[in-house]
Amino acid sequence: MTLPERDASALEVRNMVAAGDVTCAEVVAAYLDEATRWQSRLGCLVETFGDDARTVARAADARLARGEPARPLEGVPFTAKANIATKLGETSAGSAMLRGFVAPEDATAVRGMLDAGAILVGKTNCDEFAMGSSCENSALVPPGGPRTTRNPWDVARVPGGSSGGGAALAGATGWAIHLGSDTGGSIRQPAAFCGVTGHKPTYGAVSRSGLVAFGSSLDQVGPFGRTAGDVYAALQAIAGRDGLDSTSKDIELPGDLGSVPTPRRIGVPREYFVDGVTPEIERRTRHVIATLAADGCEVVDVSLPHTRYANACYQVVSTAEASSNLARYDGVRFGPRSESPGDLEALYQGSRGDGFGAEVKRRILLGTFVLSAGYADEYYERALAVRRRIRSDFVRVFEAVDVLICPTSPIAPFRVGERVTDPLALYACDVLTVAANLAGVPATSIPAGLDSDGLPIGVQLIGADGADASVLALADRYQSLCDDHRRLPEVPA
């Protein structure tokens, strides 16, 4: 047996399995050992499925031994965020409201990973109902780890969020794919904080069936991986039109990322290099742009003039949709029921008051307000009109360039607890990511080195609607020119 190197990509692991250098069972056993070692420091997993994963791995090995061809992700371990439905384990979305809920079906994205030969090894922590940017809002206490999920590069800091558990594990380990969800940056920001590649697909490219809804016109399931190639392979496994999600659609994802033409016209949106972006992050972003320019890319300054309204627009649209989506958790249809309710209204209020955490309540209240009679025109309808302008900015700019490059997060990972008491300061973390969700366009965060404190910096690549392959082809090109994506934090003792 030759185990893959610690920093090996998922595709390298798959190719070793296909070549018979290592078995699926050996990969799964070794990965679970590694994840367990990190769990005590990071608290990234809320459940592991060791026995089931080993059983599936042995079955895969038996298939390969019979001469069946290796599938695209054969033997690759993967995790799903706690808000993505899996028949194994709980799908709690990080909320007391769904504690103990076992989904009757796998999410379409999970089924895609399983069909491609990947092996589900666990569920990862997240902010409650994916509402947060630090993974500190989860109602779950990760077993065998700290109370809140930590950053593998500095355990005193947050991993980002809301998909913080998957990002933290991806940042600490190679080999695997981790499914997250992104409503306003919840894949890209934690990818930047943890030094991994994370992709928010084009809206509709991946079915939302089985994803616990937050903001339905914004939500997308997407993968974390060590490399753009890993993320692309996972995207191929999970993307496509699905009868269970009427907003899903097919996008072009040619068989091999190497066969996708590398985009050559890079746009640098001036509104994304503003006050609040740390000098080190701006410097590393410009370094990525310069590296690609030296490789032959044409670099063009562009403008997305409505960017400054994106975060305000997002606050209105996302909370409005959240208040609607979370209305179902009333203690009758979904969620634990309040004790001694008295009457029906008290039952609803008590069940929801007990079941939701503080941040979720804030968003439900705000969303209810902006949709209420007398205020909907002033807030919600206006936000939709602004959203169309934000989307129009992207459509126009992609007539001139192929991919935009900008920072993913304006700041480095912050300390645990530092922003808990100031929700608006947390919302500000999303300022550079929300516009891609509002416009529905694909965006990837790639590692771009470390800052002077040894913390990862992420750079964001944004593409036109449906141009996920181009975005990841450019990410892949950058990763062929540097080794930022290969860096891993030191193994815990």
């Binding site: 009757p104 809206y203 509709g204 016109s217 699905d242 009868g243 269970l244 009427s246 907003t247 659609k249 409505h306 309204y309 305000a312 606050q315 209105v316 208040s323 209305a327 009758v332 029921r337 309710p341 008295g342 009457d343 029906l344 209204e345 008290a346 039952l347 609803y348 209020q349 008590g350 929801r352 008051g353 939701f356 503080a358 309540k361 804030r362 439900i364 209240l365 705000l366 969303g367 209810t368 307000f369 902006v370 209420s372 807030y379 206006r382 936000a383 939709l384 009109a385 602004v386 959203r387 169309r388 302008r389 989307r391 129009s392 459509v395 929700p423 608006l424 529905g440 609607d465 449906g466």
Partner: protein
């Protein structure tokens, strides 16, 4: 309207939070939405599915009764079983026996 019980001790904090968020959201008022409003859809694509009947068991198709009831935590042969919502005393008051 949001059917949330909010404790008295939480109210001041929520009021301050909403004041700050709504002040921030006022920024949207700067955008002149009365002119040049484009008709781009908010999201791309046609979210309406074809109006065709789907077979039971097919993706997006209906579940049969036993399949549906089998997903409930508690069910009889023909219905979901749920805990009583309103007490007998409440029902008596409403005269809805």
């Amino acid at each position: 309207m949001s059917m949330l019980r909010v404790d008295d001790g939480e109210i001041d904090g929520l009021v301050e939070h909403f004041s700050r968020v709504l002040d921030f959201v006022e920024l949207l008022g700067e955008v002149d939405i009365s002119v040049g409003a484009d008709r781009l859809p908010v999201v791309d694509g046609d979210a309406l599915r074809p109006d065709v009947t789907r077979e039971a068991g097919a993706p997006g198709g209906p579940l049969d009764r036993s399949g549906l009831l089998g997903r409930a935590p508690l069910a009889s042969d023909e219905a979901f079983l749920v805990p009583r919502v309103v007490s007998r005393r409440e029902r008596g008051k409403a005269g809805s026996e």
